[in-house]
Symmetry: C2
Subunit: 366 residues, 2 copies
């Protein structure tokens, strides 16, 4: 199966083989070497000198950790929402008693840094800004560096969902002044799901010391204390860590800049191919179209479920549907992590053959 969903992403054979290693003592020396090596490499991909913690959780668990470790019930926060994952980030903050002000955009739009700046001026008490770097539900990448600049000028805390961007699209944790950055193993990292990564800036640790939202499983202070002795506070997903260790080594061999270039090239190839089929991107402005996932509008009269089922059953290509209000309105092509041009060529060929069979007429030149 050519699994072209925005995570879990396919894993290279070496990574899968590492997943099958026999268990080790998570309180022993071999584990200490493993977690130490993994965290040092994660820091290089995060472009941070500060702390990166590894949690046994999905990306959503990582987002919850970002919130409960830096905020208190009643705190006002500004949530920049451009899709489902932005909503989820805001919803977590609300579940824990934050007062959430939303800066919302239509699906397909990116956030405007100038509007973030104005929203912060209107809400001087907002302690933190929640932002999704790459919105997996709409295939849009926010201009994070510019948003971060607005947040830094206003001296607020910046919590970033980089689950589907980090390691595939440039993120400069320290240079951009990002306080908490969350990612997940099953995205660009080419590893099975089960681990979330959370970076903490010195400002974030300062906020941690004041933060009063309840937490234990996701407590980052505990994770940090255990990490100092080469451990995690709770038994971690050891086999996913084995896989991550190998994947990070492969990524270092490829080189971060080369990985970014590959994603940019393949993202462009996907968008060009989709448009050549006469289809429309959901991304309103292609400058903000994502290099890890492309959301495509379902053409009028086409049953999106029938299209995806046909692609899966007859062409061996699995795409993702729309989430939330976009269900039936878009389909999504994942192109992050272990992806090559050939995977996208096959996907586009399959689309070209399948679309006419679900009632869509290809443009003459396609």
């Amino acid at each position: 199966m050519n699994l072209r969903i925005p995570g879990p992403t396919p894993c290279p054979p070496e990574v899968l083989a590492a997943s099958a290693r026999q268990m080790i003592n998570h309180r022993g020396r071999q584990f200490a070497a493993l977690i130490g090596r993994v965290v040092e490499r994660l820091k290089r991909f995060y472009r941070t000198q500060h702390d990166v913690l590894v949690l046994t959780a999905s990306g959503t668990g990582g987002l919850e950790a970002a919130i409960v470790n830096t905020l208190s019930p009643g705190d006002e926060v500004l949530a920049v929402v451009i899709g489902e994952f932005g909503q989820r980030f805001a919803e977590i903050a609300e579940a824990y008693g934050a007062k959430v002000v939303r800066l919302e955009y239509e699906p397909g739009q990116a956030a405007d840094p100038a509007e973030v700046r104005r929203a912060l001026a209107r809400h001087p008490k907002a302690r933190a800004v929640l932002v999704t770097h790459n919105e997996t539900s709409t295939g849009v990448t926010n201009p994070l560096a510019e948003i971060a600049q607005a947040v830094r000028e206003a001296e607020r805390l910046l919590l970033v969902d980089a689950v589907s961007s980090l390691s595939s699209i440039p993120v400069e944790t320290d240079a951009w002044g990002l306080d908490v950055v969350v990612s997940g193993s099953q995205k660009g990292w080419m590893v099975p799901p089960g681990l979330a990564f959370v970076s903490m800036s010195p400002r974030a640790w300062e906020a941690y010391r004041q933060a009063r939202m309840p937490r234990l499983y996701l407590d980052l202070g505990r994770h940090q204390r255990y990490l100092e002795r080469g451990q995690t506070p709770w038994t971690p997903a050891v086999s996913v860590l084995f896989a991550l260790d190998v994947a990070l080594e492969m990524m270092e061999r490829e080189g971060l800049e080369n990985i970014f270039a590959r994603h940019a090239r393949i993202g462009q190839m996907t968008r060009d191919g989709v448009k050549a089929l006469g289809l429309q991107l959901l991304a309103a402005d292609e400058r903000y179209a994502s290099n890890t996932v492309t959301a495509v509008r379902v053409p009028p009269g086409v049953d999106e479920r029938a299209l995806r089922r046909l692609l899966e059953e007859e062409f061996g290509v699995e795409l993702a549907g729309g989430q939330g209000e976009l269900q039936g309105q878009v389909f999504r092509i994942g192109h992050l992590g272990w992806v090559r041009e050939e995977d996208i060529r096959q996907t586009l060929d399959a689309l070209a053959q399948a679309l006419p069979r679900v009632g869509y007429e290809l443009p003459a030149r396609a």
Copy 2:
């Protein structure tokens, strides 16, 4: 390495091979079949007709789920504490604002159901009882059926940490009236860490509807709603689920009663072997000694770290140290999950050879 710690436990080759399968779409039909099959089998091992949810988390995450889904800040709860894991369960409740009354025992003691009954009479407002079935830190198994009877008579909610007992030692979720029962993949289930299981009785769901502790990642209602359509709310640890699927099949082939008998036999063999070496169990009353982990008192003058290092480096046997206040006072032998008599024989032989080298004189007949 003969990994004789109480989890992560060694995994059979078939289970490890399953961990290495390529990723699938967690919103697709293949995943729906997988999670459906796994949950039906988990219910048979839980001996419940009600719900079992699968979370991507360690056992501690499962314990936190038990609490935050059934309680509200300010609720009084009775925590039966016989060791580190009992303390941890209580600590989670406190972190979320519960008023915790502890019924504490010395390390090595089991809880007395009559005392639980009296404590509940003294604390008529205690809404729930937290109890560790098998205390991994002391190698003691609480008389859960009798404790449950006391809790049922008093009509309180019963939350059970069965992380290191369920599937190895009899647990009758429905027959004993256990409301929430938590287990973890890396214990008796012979699977890598990364998944927690949580059962919910109808009474527990009633409590869920009133419960006001904040939650999102660990929200069991969301897990239940997604499970109904063959999904999990967040991307799950897919490779650990592949492994669990195979392990549950192997366990069904062996048969639950045979698994219990094997653990009872191997538990007894471990205790007899340790005593034959002149060593003392931490368990004060052998009737409550655990069949999944044996905690052994470190003899006077022996450096427990040196002993474990020697066992590891020269004999290929890895034991666990003591936790918390028991550090340096006990070592622990795990014998749960994929364990055979031969593993314990090798462990006991290694101990017999290593102990004299760290200053312990074996009894004449050993």
